[in-house]
Amino acid sequence: MGAGVKTKVFPRTQRIIIVMDDIAELCASIDRERIQRARRSSVEQKVLNGGRLFDAVRVRMISGIRWQFPEYDETQVEAEFRRRLRLSRRLELLHVE
């Protein structure tokens, strides 16, 4: 765990929470890790990862749709996935500063 991050355990429930002393420091530490990981990977590996990430996101989104609409058949699930994809493309265009 990076600097600025502590954990606290609640004895009765054994639940663990992460206490962030300094959110800015935590963000910087996550950013550093992402950058260092990216520097370690080759161009050949990384060019393939965008597609792999899409495949992984697709599997998760489809699971979510099935969970939300258990009555849907496969055609309806796929149609809802494509609808969300179209929506996300439109939102991306709206996401301006």
Binding site: A38, V43, K46, V47, N49, G50, F54, E92
Partner: protein, 195 residues
């Protein structure tokens, strides 16, 4: 990968490989742009489209459309993209909704130069051509100035921070001067984290 009914679902990289094979077979020079190319030099993020710049010349897109059919549907009607101000053909993989866009190589000097500077990189069993990291930064800054899409500035920043010591800064500055994005570049460069 398969869906619940056991129907195999083609993964995205296999789709992109098929597109590259179709372009190669049609003799159409190509270059991968968009997030698949910024991913290669920066920090990976998921993408919903593969964007290619193609040098179509007097060739037809029809053989590519035929090679990709029936599961990849390519609209043979050319459309105009308002962000990049370029003409494009659009295709979609009907099963996954993954999009493929073919931007026609524009005559503008920067577009010609970045196409000439493209680099050959293995993509699975075929070869893709990627724009250089400098050209990713230059083009992302340009789009950001036009549209202010946060993902463009984020991609530019990620390429700069990951590639930091491997960039031709004079080349970037020269084009940013021409595109009116030099101030934006210098601000981004000066604010890069020191790691």
């Amino acid at each position: 990968m398969s869906n619940d009914q056991g129907t195999p679902v083609e993964d995205v990289n296999t789709l992109v490989e098929r597109v590259i094979r179709a372009l190669d077979a049609a003799g159409i020079p190509h270059m991968l742009v968009g997030s698949l190319s910024s991913n290669s030099y920066g920090v990976e993020r998921s993408t919903q489209d593969a964007d290619f710049v193609i040098e179509l010349g007097s060739r037809s897109i029809a053989p590519v459309a035929e090679a990709l059919a029936p599961d990849i549907r390519l609209d043979r009607q050319i459309s105009f993209e308002s962000v990049t101000l370029t003409s494009r053909y659009q295709a979609v993989h009907t099963q996954t909704g993954f999009g493929i866009q073919f931007f026609l190589l524009a005559d503008e000097r920067f577009h010609q130069e970045r196409f000439a500077r493209r680099r050959k990189v293995p993509f699975g069993a075929v070869f893709a051509y990627l724009q250089s990291p400098e050209d990713v930064v230059i083009q992302k800054l340009r789009w950001y100035e036009k549209v202010k899409r946060s993902k463009d500035i984020e991609d530019a920043r990620n390429v700069l921070v990951v590639q930091k010591t491997h960039l031709d800064l004079d080349y970037i500055r020269a084009w940013c001067d021409q595109h009116g994005t030099r101030t934006r570049f210098e601000t981004l460069w000066s604010e890069l984290p020191d790691f």
